[in-house]
């Protein structure tokens, strides 16, 4: 194809997106679009499956049978999200094994929030309430993103994430209406998860790369700072309802803007975690690598068995 032809294809492509048409895997797309989508969707998929670890950490210790069942169901949902997202990503011409390799080698990123430890039961509440809450704010706009498989995956994912968010809030509510020990546990969890949740919405607009292109492709519809403000404005009244204190002395409602002003985020901490030096980065990746490596004989066996079955079928047919 000549440069001219590519250019006109690109124009048609951008026009389709501008008209809100969905791009499907078989459609022509610019290489950059494909690469960007592989990166973002796989990052999202990795976040879902790494995210299973901090919550999976409490399944065996859940304080009641009802909570154990709900937590199992939640972690199972996250695995399902990982599955749709990997499938959506595979339609762009990359295999799941390649994607796993990128995760295991550290080449691919995942949401850095999952590099924080879940230390008490209240963390199951805080993670659902804040982390799933922030995820929804990030993801609802993606239900209308331009790449069809991603947009459709997001519709289903968002429904489940809002259920998780309510469930997390309900865990917190129960703790806050409970004994002093329970309430302290809830406050401590909020103290530890608040700032990382704000960081989860990404670096400030000034430092954020790729935003303009992503806006055009509807991979991003609002800036990180806008999303963060939306999250804070939504969450502060919920904390009030719980009777918990947000660990930010500078947090204050601003009558003029109708939003909350808040204190300075420790971006050094954010970059430290992103670069691999958070409290659990090594632990999370080694858990994923161990699961994968220990499972290789199982996956090999499944393939060998399927091949034998296939050979048998052919033999019978002959």
């Amino acid at each position: 194809m000549s440069n001219e032809q590519i250019k006109s294809l690109e124009e048609i492509f951008e026009a389709r997106i501008a008209r809100d048409e969905k791009i499907e895997p078989k459609d022509w797309m610019p290489e950059k679009y494909r690469k960007t989508h592989i990166r973002q969707i796989s990052q999202h998929a990795h976040s879902e499956i790494v995210g299973m670890l901090p919550e999976g950490n409490w399944i065996s210790r859940a304080p009641s049978l009802r909570r154990k069942a709900a937590l199992l169901a939640k972690v199972q949902d996250e695995a399902g999200h990982g599955l749709y997202l990997y499938s959506a990503c595979e339609t762009l011409g990359i295999s799941r094994i390649e994607l796993y390799d990128q995760l295991h080698s550290g080449k691919a990123k995942y949401s850095s929030i999952f590099n924080y430890p879940t230390l008490t039961w209240a963390d199951m509440g805080a993670v659902g309430w804040l982390v799933d809450g922030a995820a929804i704010i990030n993801q609802v706009p993606l239900c209308n993103t331009s790449f069809g498989p991603y947009a459709r995956a997001m519709v289903r994912v968002c429904k489940e994430e809002s259920f998780h968010q309510r469930q997390g809030f309900e865990i917190m509510l129960k703790l806050c209406n409970g004994s002093k020990q329970q309430k302290d546990m809830a406050q401590d969890a909020l103290n530890r998860w608040w700032w990382p949740s704000l960081m989860m919405l990404g670096p400030t607009d000034a430092e954020s790369v790729h935003t303009e292109q992503s806006m055009k492709w509807k991979l991003k519809r609002k800036s990180n700072d806008d999303l963060r403000q939306q999250f804070i404005d939504q969450t502060v009244p919920q904390a009030d309802l719980l009777g918990l204190t947000i660990p930010d002395p500078d947090l204050k409602f601003n009558e003029q803007t109708g939003s909350y002003d808040f204190g300075t985020i420790d971006w050094d901490e954010f970059w430290q975690v992103v670069k691999g030096h958070g409290p659990c980065n090594k632990q999370r990746i080694s858990a994923r690598v161990a699961a994968w490596d220990n499972g290789s004989w199982v996956r090999d066996a499944a393939m060998a068995h399927a091949a034998k079955k296939e050979a048998l079928k052919i033999k019978i047919a002959i």
């Binding site: 049978l65 069942a69 199972q76 090999d300």
Partner: protein, 251 residues
């Protein structure tokens, strides 16, 4: 308690589901593939659901003020009535599927009888469980076949698991006093009668999986009487941690 036999009978069934569900729950996120993680979690979820139905029924029979969580979390080890098989650790995926299959075959046979119990609640729980456990058995049986008739390595590993777990199978068919009393009343299942069919079915599948059923083995028993393996204390320490650390609270 005037219905002590019924109470103990229910716990005898429910504890197996609880402890196996607990074991499977430990694996979530650490399995060989996303698909097996999802299926394992699903099975665990079914088992915990069944456990709750049984315990909720048990709370109605108990004359003490008890909740399902009191029964699940606040007994001492000697009071848990699950068979030794279900408390065995997740040594590797062959053990996980072997343990599951060896239990599922029994579990389904038992529920297929229990659905005709004269006790309506038990019959209803059993009916619902049959659907779930049929799926569990298909899943675990398929994996035993895949691993058994897969690669040389997987055959060896699956055989190793079967060899180690086999000795826990005989206990499944032991009758406790509560079992005998409930079977006589037409409320419980005479599990001793399931034994022959069980070994026939399991042996046939193992054969299909190119594995061999161990012969002339000694069997281990004790779980039904509350005499567990060394693994059990750790499982309970983990499972009971919250309830023991923060007594009398709601979650």
């Amino acid at each position: 308690m005037k219905n002590e036999n019924l109470y103990n009978y229910i716990l005898g069934i429910a504890d197996n589901s609880l402890i196996l569900g607990q074991r499977l729950g430990e694996l979530c996120g650490h399995g060989p593939s996303l698909e097996t993680d999802i299926a394992g979690t699903n099975i665990s979820l079914d088992l915990i659901g069944q456990t709750r139905s049984y315990y909720q029924y048990a709370t109605k029979i108990s004359e003490q003020e008890k909740t399902e969580d009191d029964i699940a979390f606040l007994r001492i080890e000697r009071e848990y009535k699950n068979v030794l098989l279900v408390e065995q650790p997740n040594t590797h995926f062959g053990y996980v599927m072997g343990r599951q299959y060896l239990f599922d075959v029994y579990h389904l046979m038992m529920l297929q009888q229990l659905q005709f119990s004269k006790d309506e609640t038990l019959a209803a729980i059993a009916k619902k469980g049959i659907k779930e456990v049929s799926y569990h058995k298909r899943f675990s049986g398929d994996w035993v076949k895949r691993l058994g008739d897969g690669t040389a390595e997987s055959t060896a590993k699956m055989q190793e698991a079967i060899n180690d777990l086999w000795r826990f199978t005989a206990e499944l068919f032991d009758m406790t006093d509560a079992d005998t009393a409930m079977a006589l009343e037409g409320k419980g299942v005479d599990v001793s009668k399931l034994k022959e069919g069980y070994y026939k079915e399991v042996t046939a599948l193992l054969e299909e999986a190119t594995l061999t059923a161990p012969e002339g083995m000694y069997f281990s028993r004790g779980g039904k009487k509350g005499v567990h393996s060394e693994h059990m204390g750790y499982l309970l320490a983990d499972m009971q941690y919250m309830q023991r650390t923060y007594p009398n609270m709601e979650w």
